[in-house]
């Protein structure tokens, strides 16, 4: 059945499909992430670095030069868009729970772009990239995108698995490498306990750049020259919730062994999260330019 259906045959799912999201039919539960707030619903109690992750958009990939580009599977893609503030992050999250343990896989067709800039807002040189008719400075204005999980079970043991494509470093130089954080994400409870206080624009996944480490080899993706051409990339990421380990990440023709990439758990247990299985995509700009992550479609499957 998978091979006969072009909507599914572009994926390589495990035996049980939990979710198949094409964004011509809505957001399928991918929504904005926000930090936790107090019992009075006072959003001023939300952590500054987790209060503005922006609502996802159903985008026709509309651009100033050609109008509607469209998605891979129809007209609309899910778009995560940052503000034009260096360090700002947009996050779309999908919330499930686990009815078993074992392999979990998320696949997606995605693309990433910096916002087109026109007139006096544009530049012909940025981050060491000069416009030469082929390369475009826009490519150096895209920071990073991340796919990650938030998982909890077995009496409150909580952990994240994380894979980030860092297109440029924090100095806007092309780095094009895959990274993981060696520490778990700071949580609102840690803020309430006085252990951490992060500012607006802090990297919520892991705020200290020194906590990010490279895995695999550098990989050049298909930005395709200018900010208004969209080429869809394939991503397949497999983890193992029985072992609480990463397994592998495939992006286009590259398969990276992630089995040795550490998955640091929180030292303290968390309540209210039994069998939590969240996935998120995020996009972070390192420049004062809006960054976009477009998702054409997403498939989540398991072997349990």
């Amino acid at each position: 059945m998978v091979a006969a259906d072009p909507r599914l045959s572009r994926f390589r799912p495990l035996k049980r499909i939990l979710a198949h999201d094409q964004f011509d039919s809505g957001t399928h539960g991918w929504c904005e992430l926000i930090g936790n707030y107090n019992g009075k619903g006072d959003l001023a109690t939300v952590d500054d670095h987790m209060r503005d992750f922006r609502p996802p958009q159903l985008s026709g990939c509309n651009f100033f030069d050609i109008g509607t580009h469209g998605a891979m599977s129809g007209t609309y893609a899910l778009k995560l868009a940052t503000r034009p503030i260096a360090g700002h992050t947009a996050v779309g999250i999908r919330r499930l729970t686990m009815s078993g343990r074992g392999l979990v896989q998320i696949e997606a067709y995605f693309t990433f772009k910096a916002e087109a800039t026109t007139g006096d807002h544009g530049v012909d040189s940025f981050g060491g990239v000069e416009w030469d008719g082929n390369l475009h400075p826009s490519e150096a204005q895209f920071g990073a995108f991340t796919v990650a999980t938030d998982i909890c079970g077995d009496q409150g043991l909580r952990y994240h698995t994380v894979a980030r494509y860092q297109n440029t470093d924090l100095d806007n130089r092309l780095s094009r490498r895959w990274m993981y954080p060696a520490v778990p994400e700071p949580t609102p409870r840690e803020h309430v306990q006085g252990k951490v206080k992060l500012e607006y624009g802090a990297d919520f996944t892991a705020p200290d750049p020194d906590d990010w480490h490279v895995f695999g080899a550098p990989q050049e993706l298909c930005y395709n020259e200018v900010p208004t051409k969209v080429n869809w990339h394939y991503l397949r990421w497999r983890i193992d919730t029985a072992k609480r380990r990463n397994v592998e990440l495939q992006v286009n023709d590259r398969v990276m062994d992630m089995s040795e990439v550490p998955v640091p758990p929180y030292a303290e247990s968390y309540g209210s999260l039994e069998n939590l299985l969240n996935f998120y995509f995020s996009v972070r700009t390192h420049a004062p330019v809006r960054n976009f992550l477009f998702l054409d479609s997403v498939l989540i499957s398991v072997d349990w």
Binding site: Q57, G60, T75, Y76, A116
Partner: protein, 110 residues
Amino acid sequence: MRQSMTAVLERDTTFDGEFATEPYEVAWATEARWFVQILALDHAVGLRLRTQISPDGITWCDYDDAEHVAAGVGVTSWPVREFGHWLRVRGSVDPGEGTVTARIYLAVKS
């Protein structure tokens, strides 16, 4: 069944002077409605707001001649149709030397 979405474009944001919300794509929708909820004011009466539309999310013009006034703590709302592919609101604090803390919702429906 019709598609619908509520986007919180500004969440408990404290405005001073003039501002505009982030570009938001709504090509799939037929109708939209703004909800502007003022939570607090400091030496201000409220907000003056106009709907704006755009062909590309970069350049903007006013949707119509209507100025919407949100005065005092509470919710102000107005509908929009035939808006093309992008929506935002531009606004200013009234009077200009004060601040207003507000939430801005955009409710869209196919």
